[in-house]
């Protein structure tokens, strides 16, 4: 009788459960019988390179930043495509030149739209 082909997955799952749990269990037994736990305020405090932590870990960013992310994306994508375009410029056919021009115009249109909306002004 051939074993079930899924048997290996069952064995694999068992090993994956036992291998992490065994050291944790041993560590628990060790702590239970030998090593007395010594928690303390300094030991349990947040690790920040030895400096006492200030404030909360969950700080809030202003939602205004999303505009900068979008405008950055315009220039970023533009630069990524402009470099190979400039390198291969002399060997390009007319169709490719028109295609990249359309692409650039689309990005420039986005920039003009952002400019017109006043997104380049930093509002305090």
């Amino acid at each position: 009788m051939t074993p079930n082909p899924y048997l290996f997955i069952v064995i694999f799952v068992c090993v994956a459960v036992v291998v992490p749990l065994l050291p944790l269990g041993l560590a628990w037994l060790w702590r239970r019988f030998f090593q007395p736990p010594k928690p303390g305020p300094a030991k349990l405090s947040i690790y920040e390179c030895g400096v006492e932590s200030l404030g909360d870990a969950q700080i809030q960013f202003r939602s205004q930043y999303y505009l900068y992310a979008i405008i950055f994306l315009i220039f970023d994508v533009e630069a990524v495509f402009l470099v190979p375009f400039a390198v291969a410029f002399t060997a390009l056919p007319v169709g490719a030149f028109v295609a990249i021009l359309v692409f650039l115009l689309l990005l420039i249109e986005g920039l003009i739209w952002a400019w017109g909306k006043g997104c380049l002004q930093w509002n305090r």
């Binding site: 007395p36 010594k38 300094a42 030991k43």
Partner: protein
């Protein structure tokens, strides 16, 4: 664990292919060969520490190559360099955040006593004023061989630590503290200037 295994019996058994050990020996053997130091350097001694960890001297031969960037995973703190008074609270806090068992090597003249900067207004005169030090290495800076020697001394110390009984290791005693008070910045000096439980300077008695 109560009694040491008889050496003669052990060698006789080994000759027959039977390896006898105790829980204590196994435990100490395991942890003495995997001492993970905390990755931080303070001054020029840190350069020697880096050289010790690099390929020429290779602290990995002794199981100490995994320099941990977090005190939670570290067993050993190598105080490598001049401890300024500005830095001392951070070092004590890092030591406090390390889990037991933890060991300290004071590397170089500065970490031992302030070294050539002892007269400086901003230099701590030895890290043993605030945290217990296991091995001191003199030198300015100590050569990598000296650090390796200190590492082996620490391994020797770990090997002799007992798991039970009256003589058991400090970190196994529930009444022994695991963390030490962090000094604060005072008007002229750190407050307190030393931990009186750890550091008792020798009293000089002059005969008149």
């Amino acid at each position: 664990m109560k009694e040491e295994i008889d050496e003669g019996l052990r060698t006789e058994l080994q000759r027959q292919g039977v390896w006898v050990t105790s829980m204590q020996e196994l435990y100490n053997w395991g942890r003495k060969n995997s001492i993970w130091p905390l990755q931080f350097g303070l001054a020029c001694c840190a350069i020697e520490m880096i050289a010790t960890a690099a390929s020429r001297y290779d602290i990995a031969r002794f199981g100490g190559e995994i320099f941990r960037p977090s005190p939670r995973q570290a067993d050993l703190m190598i105080v490598a360099g001049t401890v300024t008074k500005k830095m001392a609270p951070q070092i004590v806090r890092l030591y406090n955040q390390m889990p037991d068992p933890k060991y300290v090597i004071a590397m170089g003249a500065c970490a031992i006593s302030g070294g050539p900067f002892k007269q400086g207004y901003n230099v701590l005169k030895g890290i043993d004023r605030y945290i217990p030090v296991d091995v001191y290495i003199p030198g300015c800076p100590p050569r990598p061989e000296a650090l390796l020697h200190a590492f082996m001394e620490l391994q020797r110390k770990i090997d002799t630590q007992k798991l039970s009984g009256e003589q058991k290791a400090e970190f196994l005693k529930p009444e022994q503290p695991s963390e030490f008070p962090v000094p604060a910045f005072g008007e002229h000096d750190l407050e307190p200037p030393a931990n009186p439980d750890l550091f008792q300077p020798p009293v000089i008695e002059r005969q008149s």
